[in-house]
């Protein structure tokens, strides 16, 4: 089974995000960048499927040279190969633009792929658009926000999370799956894996080499403003015995806040 896992480099979730207002971008200086947490579940699932069915796992990311570290991590976890698609445009918050690049890469370079794996959503742009978009551009079925995946031959069944329940989605390969927490427990890189990853060469593809035109990769999202949400006013601390504070709280929630 040939599996392609798309990963993204994002600021870690403990980061405080500052805004560069002149350019409507976040300040990258001082941020610690990691592989998007949801993408780790995708990489892990790819590795487990390869262990069960044989085949190859290729990690792919779109971005500048700085993304090589994210791809090295995937290699250290056990991916067979990694490819960087070189894109110098800063975060454009435009899912379709990236989905077009990825779908084109699949058509031109990974035409034998049986499965594309993604994280449910990159932690940052928070779009959760690309898996479904890539599936549509390729004409493949999709299962998003998946917590269980079973593949038998050329068919698969996935559990996907919906509100207060789970859906069982049945689909044919090739297909697109996006991973949600609960799908698996991602492994740590081993020392051996890290050493092996260091030796691997990561090929770099340009957008032009993929046959993408400037028009196809022009962002359609117009960023108008980035702001931090207004800080909350200081709240009120209730004091007294547990009974007193509970009584006071219920009165306030009912009388003042009117939420119960």
């Amino acid at each position: 089974m040939n599996i392609v896992v798309f990963v993204k480099r994002v600021p870690d979730t403990e980061s405080k995000i500052r805004i560069q207002h002149q350019t409507n971008a976040i300040v990258e200086e001082g941020l610690n960048f990691v592989i998007s947490p949801n993408d780790e579940y995708a990489v892990e699932e790819g590795l487990r499927l390869r262990e069960a069915h044989g085949g190859k796992v290729t990690a792919v990311s779109v971005g500048g040279e700085e993304v090589l570290a994210t791809l090295k991590k995937c290699l250290a976890m056990g991916a067979d190969e990694a490819v960087l698609i070189k894109d110098d445009l800063k975060e454009a918050y435009d899912g379709l633009r990236l989905a077009r690049i990825m779908a084109k890469a699949v058509q031109n370079r990974f035409a034998d792929a049986d499965l594309l794996l993604f994280g449910r959503m990159s932690v940052g742009a928070d779009n959760a658009q690309i898996p479904a978009m890539a599936a549509e551009l390729l004409g493949w079925p999709q299962a998003t926000v998946v917590t269980k995946l079973v593949i038998e031959g050329r068919t698969a069944v996935a559990h996907r999370e919906i509100e207060g329940a789970q859906e069982n989605v049945a689909f044919a390969l090739p297909a697109v799956v996006s991973a949600q927490k609960g799908l698996n427990e991602p492994r740590y890189e081993t020392l051996k894996g890290i050493m092996a990853a260091k030796k691997k060469v990561i090929p770099v593809l340009t957008l032009a080499e993929l046959g993408l035109t400037a028009e196809e990769t022009a962002p359609q999202v117009q960023i108008r403003k980035m702001e931090t949400p207004p800080p909350k006013a200081a709240g009120r601390i209730l004091t007294g015995t547990p009974e007193e504070t509970a009584k006071k709280l219920v009165e306030l929630l009912r009388g003042e806040a009117k939420v119960i």
Binding site: Y93, A132, A165, Q222, E243
Partner: protein, 322 residues
Amino acid sequence: MILTFIEIRDGKIKKSSLEALSEAKRRADELGAAAAAVLVGPESAAVELQAHGASKVYLLENPQLDAYSAQGYAAALSEVVKATAPAAVFFAASAMGKDLAPRLAARLGVSMASDCTRIAVQNGALEFTRPIYAGKVLLTMGLKNRPALATLRPNVFPVAASAVDSEVVKIALNLPEGLVKGRVAEVLCETGGEIDVSEAEIIISGGRGLKAPESFTLLRELAVILPKAAVGASRAAVDSGWIGHGHQVGQTGKTVTPNLYLAFGVSGAIQHLAGMSSSKIIVAVNKDPEAPIFKVADYGIVGDLFQIIPALKDELRKIFAE
């Protein structure tokens, strides 16, 4: 015209779809346009949509739509978009909306705005504001393409009744045979019909301070007393295996905006605050007066949650037993 996709679950219109339709009606009024609704579902649903501002209700009919699939629904909706040329298409940012809207966007070749919390009209076009970095930043954006596609975060936009002259239009679609290569085979109610945190009006959340998985029973007892309440959890509680990940609130879990968020023993790590700080009213109960959760709390109690929860239960019972 602004078209809103209406989601039907268990034969009923989802509240978040009515929220999206109500917002479509408000923005359409501002643009001097009409609001319309499109659904795969019973004709009986049309009455409620007409009462919420839909001047046209498009009912889609095709056997390939009997079971939900993003592939089939996107193909069907793209036919409606081609026939009606809306300026925008709105979806609730529900599990289905998030699965379907991007697929339709790609089919139409347009970019979209996910999980919007504010929509405005600027120079005759829609402008979308959406939280990014799980709410640490608000991004306001326009879309160059038409139609403009957006998903709207549940529990943010108010539902408003608005009766309009309206007609129901049935569309029998001609979808190619074998178009759909994957579909929903079954719905499993593993959570026993509990309300999901993304849809709850009240969330009762627990963190490391609960000390043991059994303590979540205390929170569930509160959730039973309070209407439309769900149990949430911090990443620490989920990673300790005390409760399923479906309950996790925060940057790697769900982003929520309930009317009331009650946090018990949640310290308030930045990635948790990002997921819940836009809740309308926040209550924090924590032993540690320095816990960051108090910075976003409207009401705080410094104390032992194991003493406060029983007292709170008694007080709430007095009200909700009435």
